[in-house]
């Protein structure tokens, strides 16, 4: 336990078992991104998986919409301390997208339109743990929240859930992405409070 803050009682009292350490509950949907919001016309949208030998699989928006989609309800946790519980998304499981990917690599770099990158181990994307989501709360995913489509990998801090996702690239060795190069934790498990390097 930290030192006591004289005169601090705490009013929000959102400590609860489904809230990771250091997080507080929010009911709105804050935005965090490093630059302007890119707008990607759907007829130019592509999603590409590239394996470690450079083989690419690409989906257009139309093709992507024909893939089997799942409705998921998950809790999300932002490194800036807010958590939002029970959020509703619709998207395509990465198990579906990786079904035909031939890879022995263990690491991935997720890319977003606008140049964003974040690294995620492949095993954190598979077995029902991650989706490419394109609907939030029953509506199209808005650009400021990552639309047309974003990665959703809710068991890691939300910066790993790359907005405006454009593709996933397999890597033989782990490399840091955008925030991971700027002092944030390489893995980002909210339950272990892995916010910054060294946590």
């Amino acid at each position: 336990m930290g030192i006591i803050s004289p005169g601090f009682g705490g009013r929000r009292r959102s400590s609860r078992p489904d809230l990771p350490p250091g997080q507080y509950l929010t009911y709105d949907f804050p935005v965090l991104s490093a630059g302007p919001t890119p707008r990607i016309p759907l007829d130019r949208w592509r999603f590409t998986i590239t394996n470690e030998t450079g083989t690419r699989q690409t989906w257009t928006w139309e093709e992507f919409q024909k893939l089997p989609a799942e409705d998921v309800t998950v809790d999300i946790h932002c490194v800036t301390k807010w958590s939002k519980l029970g959020t509703n998304w619709r998207g395509v499981s990465l198990d579906t997208l990786f079904a035909d990917t031939d890879t022995a690599a263990e690491y991935t770099m997720v890319h977003g339109y606008g140049g964003y990158t974040t690294n995620v181990p492949l095993e954190d994307l598979l077995d029902g743990k991650a989706w490419i989501a394109y609907r939030f709360d029953g509506a199209e995913l808005e650009p400021e929240h990552g639309g047309p489509a974003r990665l959703l990998v809710p068991h890691l801090y939300f910066w790993k859930s790359a907005k405006w996702v454009s593709g996933i690239e397999m890597m033989n060795s782990d490399e840091p992405g955008f925030w991971e190069s700027a002092g944030y934790h390489n893995y980002g498990d909210p339950w272990r409070e892995q916010r910054y390097q060294g946590d």
Binding site: G2, P6, G7, F8, R12, G35, P36, K81, A182, D199
Partner: protein
């Protein structure tokens, strides 16, 4: 992103409040003495942790408003938010001599370095001006000659943070320009009615995209979305536009 890595571990430090001043009726600057503070770049923030006697604890992030090294303290300017659990404590209850836990500096992206020579365009909304003020102060501390322009959106003249200091700096420094945007109420004889930041304002009082300025945008999400979209629409390279947002949730 090269060269921005922060490799040291961010430990919690017990800082002490050594000074405080009200910037507006609802915003308070905390002057903190932090043992072994490693220094920071303008634009970086800290995490603050409060703990109640029964062990309940909560954290928030605040931008640093001061430039390092200054006098060896760091300053946080806290806007009191309605029902803000942490902000109301920091503006109303936290007293001189009291301890507080913080760690940082955090963030290697939304930073300005005094060695950068490009013109700089700062777009601030409300208390989002705090990290931009750190940049202005850092430039002032090294007598930087980089051309700086700040467009500062506030609801009313009374809501403007650092108004006296900004006026003095603009008066004394021909390389620093300031334009206010008032969204609810203007001063007497202001040439335009209250309005939100728009293309014309940024076009007139910002830098042309051909000057390739480094752009820093900070404020509430709606302000940041609007201002960054305007910069893109005016032709600024999106890679030169760095944004920082706060959700207004604490």
């Amino acid at each position: 992103m090269a060269g921005t890595a922060v490799s040291r571990r961010l430990i919690w430090r017990v800082a002490t409040l050594v000074g405080a001043r009200m910037e507006t009726p609802t915003a308070r600057t905390l002057v903190l003495q932090v043992p072994d503070w490693p220094g920071h770049l303008p634009g970086q923030h800290v995490d603050v942790r409060l703990t109640a006697p029964d062990g309940y604890s909560t954290q928030r992030s605040y931008s640093i408003a001061s430039a390092w090294p200054g006098d060896g303290t760091i300053e946080l300017t806290i806007q009191r938010l309605p029902d803000g659990e942490v902000s109301t404590y920091l503006t109303d209850i936290y007293r001189i001599g009291d301890p507080i836990e913080l760690r940082g500096p955090v963030g290697g992206w939304f930073v300005w370095r005094t060695a950068q020579n490009s013109p700089v365009l700062l777009l601030g909304g409300g208390s989002g001006v705090a990290p931009l003020m750190a940049m202005i102060r850092a430039r002032g501390a090294v007598r930087g000659r980089q051309p700086f322009r700040l467009i500062y959106s506030v609801r009313t003249p009374q809501d403007a943070l650092f108004a006296d200091e900004l006026a003095r700096r603009v008066r004394d420094d021909p390389g620093l320009d300031l334009r206010y945007v008032y969204t609810r109420k203007t001063p007497e004889a202001w040439p335009e009615p209250p309005r939100r930041i728009g293309v014309a304002t940024v076009n007139t009082y910002g830098w042309p995209p051909e000057f390739e300025p480094d752009c820093f945008v900070c404020g509430p999400t709606s302000f940041v979305e609007t201002a960054a979209d305007i910069l893109v629409a005016l032709g600024h390279n999106s890679q030169k536009i760095k944004t920082e947002r706060f959700g207004g949730t604490s």
